[in-house]
């Protein structure tokens, strides 16, 4: 059961909630829609559920036009951020609701309903809670009731809107591992919306990064993190340093440094912006010829990682670097030291001459050439 989203657009007054969004969801896939608030991810989810309709574009399920199918007939399981449980019904009645409202011809018998609800409650680890009202449950329990209720109608597609948004950190982590297992067991096509990158990267098979109603990048969590396609993805996912650079004769001029690299061949001269992840900055305490000279301003140890704040006069800005906490101690890195900073690789977006915007089509991943001596010192 493949879902094809083709050039969807949705406007609310002057606000473009969705702008030319296309995506294909394979059967059994676990997809995360990730983006800041207002990026259109919830609108897309609501259109998938049939609770909202696009101004233009198509939505197909195995070639069938889903936009002609009402929310009631879509057979989509939907889990809301704030659970949306029926608070006047017991847990049992909540889960049974989708079966009880079926037309008589398709409605299972009472005994069958009871059996299916019991099974589902076991599955979401809520057996023994059937007679309670939602007000008597914790947040995590309520969310699992909402999930069981959505699964009861045997949906072909499961949609979750910020499913862990209202839970506290510990419950959230436990519940999302559990959800991942559940997905592996059931193999149900699942789409969930989140603004939490950690959640998306940990849970999903594929992450769709959205911004201002557009899809910025679609890829596996690894691709999204390692090979961000746009400046937005760089800034939104993980940490990154943004460095203004110039391309000049197939070389990269960054502050007082000039880097040579093969990837720059064929790029016209001009301004560009480069992004480099903190863990892709190599530090050397012995002065090296290539690389920015920097003063180590702070070392923050957070758990197993050391975050370093570097003052780089040659760039006129600070850079953030990261390395293992143990390594930082082994090399006795301390505030006040002078170090040489070498980016192992940077992603460069040349700026468009007219608009001054980063040109995504001319994106290059640049591995500067350093001498053998430098390479040896990185490790």
């Amino acid at each position: 059961m493949t879902i094809t989203i083709n050039r969807l657009a949705r406007r609310f007054a002057d606000f473009r909630a969705l702008d030319d969004v296309s995506l294909s969801i394979a059967p059994g896939e676990f997809v995360a829609l990730l983006g800041p608030s207002g990026s259109g991810k919830t609108t897309l989810l609501r259109i998938l559920a049939g609770l909202d309709f696009p101004d233009s574009g198509d939505l197909l399920q195995d070639g069938r036009d889903l936009l002609q199918v009402s929310a009631r007939d879509r057979g989509v399981g939907l889990v809301f951020q704030h659970y949306a449980l029926f608070r006047h019904m017991t847990v049992f009645e909540n889960v049974a609701f989708g079966l009880r409202v079926r037309p008589r011809a398709r409605r299972p018998s009472k005994a069958e309903i009871a059996e299916r609800v019991d099974k589902l409650l076991k599955r979401v680890q809520l057996d023994g809670m059937a007679a309670r009202y939602p007000a008597q449950l914790s947040g995590g329990q309520r969310q699992r009731v909402a999930l069981a209720r959505a699964l009861a109608i045997e949906p072909s597609l499961l949609l979750l809107d910020e499913p862990f948004g209202a839970l506290d950190a510990q419950v959230r982590v436990a519940l999302r591992r559990w959800l991942r297992h559940l997905h592996e067991e059931m193999g149900l096509t699942t789409v969930f919306v989140t603004h939490d990158q950690e959640e998306a990267l940990e849970l999903a098979d594929r992450v769709v990064v959205m911004n201002r109603g557009r899809i910025e990048q679609v890829g596996t969590p690894d691709e999204i993190y390692q090979q961000p396609a746009t400046p937005f993805v760089f800034e939104f996912i993980g940490k990154s340093n943004k460095v203004p650079v110039r391309i000049h004769g197939a070389r990269l001029q960054a502050g007082d440094q000039r880097f040579e690299a093969d990837a720059l061949e064929g790029l016209a001269d001009g301004s560009a912006v480069a992004y480099v992840r903190p863990e892709h900055l190599a530090l050397s305490t012995t002065p090296l010829e290539n690389g920015w000279k920097a003063t180590l301003r702070h070392v923050y140890l957070s758990g197993s990682v050391a975050h370093l704040e570097l003052d780089v006069p040659g760039l006129g800005q600070t850079l953030e670097a990261e390395l293992g906490g143990e390594e930082a101690q082994r090399r006795s890195l301390q505030a006040g030291m002078t170090v040489t900073v070498q980016p192992r690789h940077l992603t460069v977006f040349p700026l468009d001459g007219k608009t001054g915007e980063p040109d995504l089509a001319r994106r290059r991943v640049v591995h500067p050439r350093y001498g053998q001596a430098a390479l040896a010192r990185w490790r």
Binding site: A49, G50, L51, A71, R72, D73, R74, G75, V76, G77, L78, F80, H82, A84, L85, F86, R87, H88, M89, T90, F97, G98, V101, R102, Y133, P134, A135, Q136, R149, A150, A152, I153
Partner: protein
Amino acid sequence: MARRVLPGFGLSLGYVLTYLGLLVLLPLAALAVKASGIGLAGLWNTLSAPPVLAALKLSFGAALVSALINAAAGLLVAWVLVRYSFPGRRLFDALVDLPFALPTAVAGIALTALYAPKGWIGEWLVPLGIKVAFTPLGVLIAMIFVGFPFVVRTLQPVLESLDRDIEEAATSLGATRLQTFLRVLFPLLLPALLTGFALALARAVGEYGSVIFIAGNIPMKSEILPLVIVKQLEQFKYADAAAVGVIMLALSFVLLLAIGLLQRWSRRWAER
């Protein structure tokens, strides 16, 4: 003793008890004392007089029917005022309160003028064989009028606080609009609806001013119980009047108690 975070419990409780005692209990007690003057046999005699019995039936019967009608109509009005936006919504919202503000005699005279055989509405109804003014139907209409705001005003905040997503959840689970209303929305509205019903009922039972103008006050036919009391007072039969008052009070109390129990049952899910 448990330490209280909010101060003034003793003072405020004392004030509340004193206030309620002076305002509510004392007059009621005086009424009961006055009524006891005629003894149980006297009470029974007063009650079993056919005009009193007829008025009792009319007062409570019409009040119950009017409260039911107000519950249904009030639900609809509250729903429209909360859920839809249309030009003049605020104006209509303000109109709801007018039956509260209007002196009841004015309301009664206005209704009589409308429904009298020569009135704007009456002149169309009378040829159809429907007489409103000076009949029990008129009593009912006056009671509906004065009780109308209660259901609307008790339902509005509850309707506003209902989250859209429970309806969306019901829809995506396959429920029709009717099923969503009957199984999801109505049970959530029921406690407030019962509160509004009880208030409208209490008001209708006790209503005097607007009813007597339109009722025509024909004994055994369109005479309400409060008027029976007034008539007895005019004949200086104070104990009899008090006896009828006590009966009204007792019946109202039983009705309100029953509604209260029903309401508690209807929100059993809110208890932890």
